[in-house]
């Protein structure tokens, strides 16, 4: 019998603890495939966040550092600067990257830090129970804005790609949505490019993945994909923002 599909060598044998239908698992697998395909597993250092992906060190087969909340780009900077021949990437959620870690991500991008950042935007703090995030949509309900996000009280969602695209440091910024077969292909291609740019010695690369949270959104996985396509992309349009 011929084996036509198997687990990527980029991931360990540990089972994911993510909720059913959560896109973290999909993106983890893509990263595992990318570092396997680019043949950089023994050369790669992953810096993982605080949030649902906090257990990422159990899943990635490369070396992993668990950063404090929001500090992954600074930790990755510290690694990359002292061992510049290694491939260093940070994996962050929206609370981590766009709220508590805004200084770290903005300055890593401004410096053109030669790291790759995979940014998972699911508009909520999934791990802590569905509180309002910096990317929560106007009108979207959360446990800390139970009547929906009111811009007069909570302000507006932050568009990370557009904001970072104003800087000269980044070499590549793209927003993708893995909600369809085409979207999945595009997402993996974007992640691969973010790593390839680093291999090529180019500056900072960031891929924002519009993601879901069936648990906190109180939806089935299929419904979350629809919500991403129909609602989220209105605030967070897909596309390439920087490609140098």
């Amino acid at each position: 019998m011929q084996k036509v599909f198997e687990r990527t060598k980029g991931l360990t044998d540990n089972e994911f603890t993510y909720c059913p239908g959560c896109l973290h698992s999909v993106v983890h697998r893509m990263i595992g495939e990318v570092i396997e395909e680019l043949d950089i597993i023994p050369n790669t250092v992953c810096v993982c966040p605080v949030g649902c992906a906090v257990f990422m060190y159990d899943y990635m087969v490369c070396d992993v550092i668990e950063a404090a909340h929001g500090r992954a780009p600074a930790v990755a900077t510290g690694v990359k600067r002292v061992i510049p021949d290694r491939i260093v990437f940070a994996y962050q959620g929206d609370g981590d990257l766009a709220s508590i870690g805004t200084a770290e991500i903005v300055h890593a991008a401004a410096r053109g830090e030669k790291i790759s950042v995979i940014f998972i935007n699911n508009t909520t703090y999934g791990m802590t129970g569905g509180q309002m995030a910096p990317t929560t949509l106007i009108g979207q309900k959360s446990t800390t804005c139970t009547r929906g996000r009111d811009p007069l009280v909570n302000g507006y969602p932050i568009r990370v790609c557009e904001m970072l695209a104003t800087l000269d440091g980044p070499s590549y910024i793209e927003r993708v949505a893995p909600t369809s077969p085409a979207g999945l292909v595009k997402t993996k291609k974007a992640i691969k490019k973010a790593f390839q740019n680093q291999i090529d010695g180019k500056g900072f690369a960031l891929v924002e993945v519009l993601s879901n949270c069936p648990q906190q959104w109180h939806m089935t996985p299929i419904e979350t994909f629809k919500a991403i396509d129909e609602k989220m992309t209105k605030t967070f349009p897909l596309g390439v923002f920087v490609d140098k």
Binding site: P42, V54, A74, R86
Partner: protein, 366 residues
């Protein structure tokens, strides 16, 4: 190799870092430690190392965390308000059992405080500082020479104990100029770091992490940390004693305060009072048993600090009720004068205060 230079304490720290083969320095401007990042920005690249000015103290210590995880000698410096910001990272670094060196050129506090010298970050340095049951090994230089000497020592302690080490200075020690011998009479050992997250080449992946969901695993980490501090208490206590052999009263002071108190000891001796100085060089581990031994031998103590009473608590714990422990302290950037400390000593001997023999103090008194 040995040359002599006239250096500021802050600059001597930089020479010490280069001598210790520090690989990376991450800093952020704050007075009165700016000479450190300024000189490091030139000296680190010139010696094959990395210098990076971070966007904040929080980021600087996170960069140290990353560089230390990669197995390199990493360092940062700041002053009191900035050191407060580094506490998050220090807790993580201690929890992950990573080596690094942090310099605090203390200024008066609390809050934004002043840029003048202070010693009010003692508790923060030796009692943990950040969240959780961890401690920093802490060295307190009292001269420019010790600023130089203590950086290689700090890195060696950090590598051996896998724990962050703090060099606790103050604005005077950092800013004053003294002769400094740039020697190489210390070991710079390239410790094996099999735990480093620098790419899993030919081995299973390494993980640097401080999240432990199983309480017993986390308790075991805590017990391991405490065992390290107990070992340091046994093997790493460093102190300096001056004229304590026959002293009736022993002044306990560190850093800049100890420099002042050495003068006070000589002034008191001139007046026939048997006074000595015990200077803790390691604030953690604290010279507890050495102080206890003096207490058993009937000595009295007086702690002198540029705070309103922090290290004095550790003196009292060491003495454990066996002897009187007096205290003299100034705060907010005020440096105690030798005469005012002498008058505190005189009070301990039942003598009335004297008027200063220093013209500047007389002017202040008027």
């Amino acid at each position: 190799m040995s040359t002599k230079k006239l250096l500021k304490g802050n600059v001597a720290i930089c020479y010490g870092a280069v001598a210790a083969k520090c690989n990376a320095f991450f800093g952020y401007p704050i007075t009165p430690q700016n000479e450190i990042p300024e000189h490091m920005s030139d000296m680190m690249p010139a010696n094959g190392g990395v210098f990076l000015q971070a966007e904040s103290e929080v980021s600087a210590i996170s960069m140290v965390y990353g560089a230390a995880s990669a197995g390199k000698r990493a360092m940062t410096s700041s002053s009191s308000p900035g050191i407060s910001l580094k506490q998050e990272g220090l807790s993580y670094i201690a929890a992950c059992e990573l080596p690094c060196v942090v310099v605090n050129v203390q200024r008066g506090g609390p809050g934004l405080g002043t840029i003048l010298p202070g010693q009010a970050d003692y508790f923060q340095a030796v009692k943990g500082g950040g969240h959780g049951d961890y401690k920093l090994l802490t060295l307190a230089p009292w001269s420019v020479q010790e600023c130089y000497d203590f950086v290689p020592l700090a890195f060696d302690l950090a590598d051996r104990y896998l724990n962050p080490v703090m060099i606790l200075m103050d604005a005077i020690i950092g800013q004053m100029l003294e002769q400094c011998e740039l020697h190489d009479r210390f070991p710079v050992i390239d410790y094996a770091k099999a735990w480093a997250t620098n790419g899993a080449r030919g081995r299973a992946h390494n993980i640097v992490n401080s999240l432990w969901i199983d309480p017993e695993v986390l308790e075991n980490l805590n017990l391991r940390l405490q065992a390290k501090y107990a070992a340091a208490q046994l093997h790493e206590v460093r102190l300096h004693e001056y004229r304590t052999e026959d002293a009736e009263l022993i002044i306990v002071a560190y850093g800049c305060s100890a420099r002042i108190c050495r003068t006070v000891v000589d002034m008191a001796r001139d007046e026939g009072m048997a006074v000595g100085l015990l200077r803790p060089i390691t604030l953690l581990p604290f010279p507890t048993s050495q102080i206890a031994k003096h207490a058993q031998n009937g000595r009295r103590f007086m702690a002198v600090e540029m705070s309103l009473g922090q290290m004095v608590e550790d003196v009292r714990l060491a003495v454990n009720g066996m002897a009187d422990v007096a205290f003299h302290g100034r705060a907010g950037g005020v440096v105690p004068s030798p005469t005012e400390v002498l008058n505190a000593v005189r009070a301990g001997f039942g003598k009335p205060p004297v008027i200063s023999r220093y013209p500047s103090e007389e002017m202040e008194a008027r």
